[in-house]
Every structure is written in structure tokens, then in C-alpha cells.
Point group: C2
Chain length 337, copies 2
């Protein structure tokens, strides 16, 4: 008999898992209420294990790098998901920021990874829109980006092609009829199993989406990351503009887009790319990352018949291919918590 698998959650982790599991011949149902504050809907779309890395998080860097290696093939199977392979620049606006980047570069070199220090002049040669305050940075050609919304849409189509059934509502493990339930509900996973309740917390983030306009400077070709007055900001190019993100708050499921958050995002992004003052502000949104205590995802059996695939925090898009693979392996092996 075909194994019946129900996935709770239709973000990037839920959909990637559903797609891979359905393709393996299992009967899959996805419960998803189309929530617009899901992390992968609101996200910027970075696939950036290196520029996200930090001393002490070597395991995450390793996991992210292995997932990133799977991304080109993963994307190719899905069709046009706006995978951008131009790489990432991490830039600094003052000497304190430069110091932080030097520390990161040293850490990366110690791990045998490349991160090229580039001058302000070299950066402006690569991306002419960078403003005069940009002093220097790192070039990380391997850190990529994807159009997250196009990706989610492509994943739903790929699921449908494998006869995944969609239920447009939320459910809990005890209310669904399945051989295995996969909890992939991102920030909301904590409410779905007692073992996850103390582990998964929502980490609020705000972004703005900007569209280029005739007469304004074109968007950069690479993802730009920066620290401005101690705040991290990223600018991820899209076909018609940019996503600028992301604030970070520990404030539960507060969905409000705040004045202070948008003010910081716009101001910090302008400090990096002054020309965006002329861009159109198309959307401002808040979403929730699935925070975990060690910033690593929780992928494994919680009890017989209940799997977790959550806690991806800032790395859900990046870790989707390897997470789906891991869930499929766990399903094949059966096994226990």
C-alpha cells in the first residue's frame, strides 16, 4: 500500500518536501491556509550560506553550502524560478563595518573558503549604483538568490503535477488521516507538537519591495548586503526592482509593518544605493521566520508517524533542497524519534 503523507505548511519547506515525497510515489496532501506572513513569501530570496555565516555557526555554514550545491539542479527541475547566479557583495560604510567584514573574511579563510576583499573603487566598478559612503567589502560570487514568490508558485505547480492534494486551511497532526504527518509550518510549528513548543519561536521580519522606474538607475546585478549603523540590510535584485530586508524582532506574531522598520530599511538601503530614492515603493510586509535555539533546523521524527521539518530561521529557501531530501530519507528508513 502506498504511504499516505500529509504535510502541514505550504511555505518553501512544506512544498519542497511535498514535491519530493510525491515524486517518490507516495500520496501527499498539503494543508496550507495561504498565509501572507509566511517567511518564504515575505523573504528576500537569498541563498547565501557564506555571507550569512558567523563564527560558532560552522555547522549551519556546512549544511547551507551542501544545500546550495543542490540548488542549480533543484531550480532547473522547476523551470524559471528567477535563480540569480551573479553572486553577492558584502559592503561596509565605515571602518567599524569594514572591521566586521575583515573578521568574517578571516573566519572564512580559516575554514578554507574564499571571500575576496575588494576596495570601494572596485565595488563601484562592479555595481555603479553603490553610493559614495561605501568604503569596501567582500565579493562572494557563490552566494546566490532566487525569486522566492516565483519559486513558491513553481513548487505548487510541481506538486500538482505529482497529484499533491491541497487543503486550503490549517490542520494539526491529530486531526488528519495519514500514515505520516510532516510538520513544516515554519514559525507556527511550535503550536503543532508539544516537542516543538519550547523550540520554535517566531522571529518577525519586515521587508519592502521596490520597483525600478524609467529614468532611475537600474538595480544592481548582484545581491548587496551591508551593515549601516549596526543594522544589517540586504538588497536582492528582482526582474523589475529590489527586495530590501530585513528587520528582526522578537515580538511574537505581531504582524504590523512599523514606521520605524520601514524608515530604517529605506534609509539604510539609500545609504548603500542612493539612486533608489526614485524607485517606487510597491509593498511593505512583515513575516515570521521559524527561529530555533541554535539557528539550525529541526528535521527528524518527533514520534512514530510525526516528522518535523521546521526551524529554518533565515535559511528556509537555502535549505529547502537538502531538507526535502532528508525528509524523504527519513520516510524511507522509517525509524523513531
Amino acid at each position: 500500500m502506498v504511504q499516505r503523507v500529509t504535510v502541514l505548511g505550504g511555505g518553501v519547506i512544506g512544498l519542497s518536501t511535498a514535491w519530493r515525497v510525491a515524486a517518490s510515489g507516495r500520496a501527499v496532501t498539503v494543508f496550507d491556509d495561504g498565509c501572507r506572513t509566511a517567511g518564504s513569501w515575505v523573504a528576500g530570496g537569498m541563498l547565501a550560506p557564506v555571507t550569512e555565516s558567523w563564527p560558532g555557526e560552522e555547522e549551519l555554514l556546512d549544511l547551507g553550502s551542501r544545500s546550495l550545491a543542490r540548488w542549480p539542479a533543484f531550480a532547473a527541475e522547476l523551470g524559471d524560478v528567477g535563480l540569480r547566479t551573479e553572486g553577492t557583495l558584502a559592503v561596509a560604510l565605515d571602518s567599524a563595518d569594514l572591521g566586521v567584514l575583515d573578521q568574517l573574511a578571516g573566519h572564512l579563510r580559516g575554514l578554507g573558503r574564499e571571500a575576496d576583499r575588494v576596495t570601494g573603487r572596485e565595488l563601484r566598478a562592479l555595481e555603479p549604483g553603490l553610493g559614495p559612503r561605501v568604503r569596501g567589502g567582500l565579493s562572494v560570487p557563490g552566494d546566490l538568490a532566487v525569486d522566492n514568490r516565483r519559486l513558491l508558485s513553481a513548487l505548487r505547480k510541481a506538486c500538482a503535477a505529482h497529484d499533491v492534494r491541497f487543503e486550503p486551511r490549517r490542520a494539526t497532526p491529530s486531526t488528519v488521516d495519514a500514515d505520516v504527518v510532516v510538520i513544516a509550518a515554519g514559525a507556527w510549528s511550535g503550536a503543532l507538537h508539544p516537542a516543538l513548543a519550547p523550540v520554535i519561536r517566531p522571529v518577525k521580519g519586515e521587508i519592502v519591495r521596490l520597483a525600478g522606474r524609467r529614468g532611475a538607475l537600474p538595480p544592481p546585478t548582484r545581491t548587496i548586503r551591508a551593515h549601516v549603523e549596526g543594522r544589517a540590510v540586504y538588497l536582492v535584485p528582482k526582474d523589475d526592482g529590489l527586495v530590501v530586508g530585513a528587520t528582526q524582532y522578537e515580538s511574537g506574531f505581531d504582524e504590523a509593518v512599523t514606521v520605524g522598520g520601514v524608515r530604517d530599511l529605506l534609509g539604510d538601503a539609500e545609504a548603500v544605493l542612493p539612486g533608489i530614492a526614485e524607485y517606487e515603493l510597491v509593498e511593505s510586509a512583515a513575516g515570521f521566520r521559524a527561529g530555533s535555539p541554535d539557528n539550525l533546523p529541526v528535521i527528524g521524527w518527533l514520534e512514530p508517524g510525526v516528522l518535523a521539518a521546521t526551524g529554518h530561521h533565515r535559511n528556509g529557501l537555502l535549505l529547502a533542497p537538502i531538507t526535502a531530501e532528508k525528509v524523504l530519507t527519513l520516510l524511507r528508513e522509517g525509524g523513531t524519534p
Copy 2:
């Protein structure tokens, strides 16, 4: 036979006119495509002839004051339109701004109008949310505000109660069947008659709407106006928050809400009321005022059977009662251009 009047435009001028004309026993049709960039939909809602006044615009101050005198009765007939009678404070953040306010106060006193100079301390006693950068200002208790969107909705109901017929599309004077056509299409009026084409131009403005949040400072009770680094900003309290406006550009019918515009509105509003950093950014919008060469409205016959009621620029809400009255008088008198 009952006179058949068609009004082109369903903003505050078109609706006020349609209501008054229909109440006089005429058969009225309003053409309105529900455009969300109409000036009176996007507006902040100030009814503020005094704090809007400037040397050289005495005629506008006089017209505005006479219309403001009609506002309490006008509003009372319409029901609850959120008329706020707490008055307006014009505040200054530096000595240059204070100088501008002193100039305005002197001008007003010369016209026999009151405008009380108040210190920063007195201002903060009136509105505790005002920030430390506020140095002084003017108190103008007579300048009021209205909830413009609630007003538009009440006007449509008042029209319907007098059997005004609504056509949800645009039209031109030559394509409607009526005894008299009233052109009240705001910024779009220039395209509706050759005599208006050289006179009426769109003046783009952007606003943001903010909502108060639990734990954040409550909104002010009075309308606050300020100049911040030479830019005018106003904060108009609403039941659940504030409207902050308004940028001003001569850029045709460009509907984009720009990064630079929102950055200025949020930054300038925070300079005046720092507590709004915690507020929710609910909406950002762009709209078009109907600019005229002398900032005065154009109300009169353009040719037999065609009346204009447009060109109200920043003062459409304020001037609605007196404009509707004037149109009714013109209809009664008949008359020629």
C-alpha cells in the same frame, strides 16, 4: 421640466455639488470611475485656511474662511464625518522655521486674524507627544480637519438619498445627455474642456496612513503642521491613527509612491512626533491635486450648458461647501461664460 444635471467626477467637489443640486430638485447623474488617486481620497483631511495661507493669497484665505464657516452645518447634515474641532498647531524645529512662522503670524495679524505664538514648553503641554526638537509654534484653534474617506462615503449616501444616479465610469461633456454638465474631475478636468486644458494641471502628492498600537503613545488631538529642513509636513489625527502628508511634485500623472517621498514623510513626521516609530504603516498612496495658475479654484460657465468646478489644488475639502453653493447659484441664474 426638471433640469437634468450631469456631474463629471465623484471626488469631494463632484459629490458635494451633486448632493446640493439634487436636493434643489434637479435630476442629477454622477460619472465616477472610483479612481483611487483622486485628491480628496488620498488627502489628509485638513480644513485649514489660516495655516495654509501665505502673503499674496489673501483671496484664497478669504474664500477658505467663508467655506470653513459653513463646515459645521455641512458636516452636521451628513452625519458622522469625523469632523475634528480641536484645532491646529503649526510648529517649528529650528530658528529658520520659527522665523517663517513669525512671518506668517505677522501677516495674519495684519489681516486682523488671530494666530497665537506658543513656546515649545506650551506646545508639549498641549500635545505631550511632540519631540524635543520642536522649538515653538503657532496655535490656530479655528483650523479644523475631517475624515475625508468617511466624508466621501457620507456624501455618496446623501446623494443616493436624493436619487442621484451613479455611472461607474468616466465621460466627457460631449458624450452625456444633460441640460447642464458640471466638470468636477479634479486634476483630470483639463482633458474635459479646451478652456481648462491650459489652466488645470495635476500636482502629485504622497501620504502615509499610520495606525496607533497598544503600548505606543496615543496620536495627538490636534492637527500638527511643521517645516522640517524646508519640507512641509502635516499630521492629521484620525480615530485610529494619523495621516501624514504630503509631498508635492509637478510630474504629471505619475502614480508611483516613491522611496524618497515615503522616507521624507516618515522621517519628518518622526522628527515632530518621535513616538510614531512604533506605529503601524497601514498605507502609502499617491494622488493628484487639481492645480491652477493662481491656486484659486475655477468655478463658472465655460460655455452654455457646461460649468466648471475644479482647480481646488490643496483646498478641495475645505472649499467643498462654498463650491457646491456657488454651482447651485450659477444653475439658478443660468447665465453665460
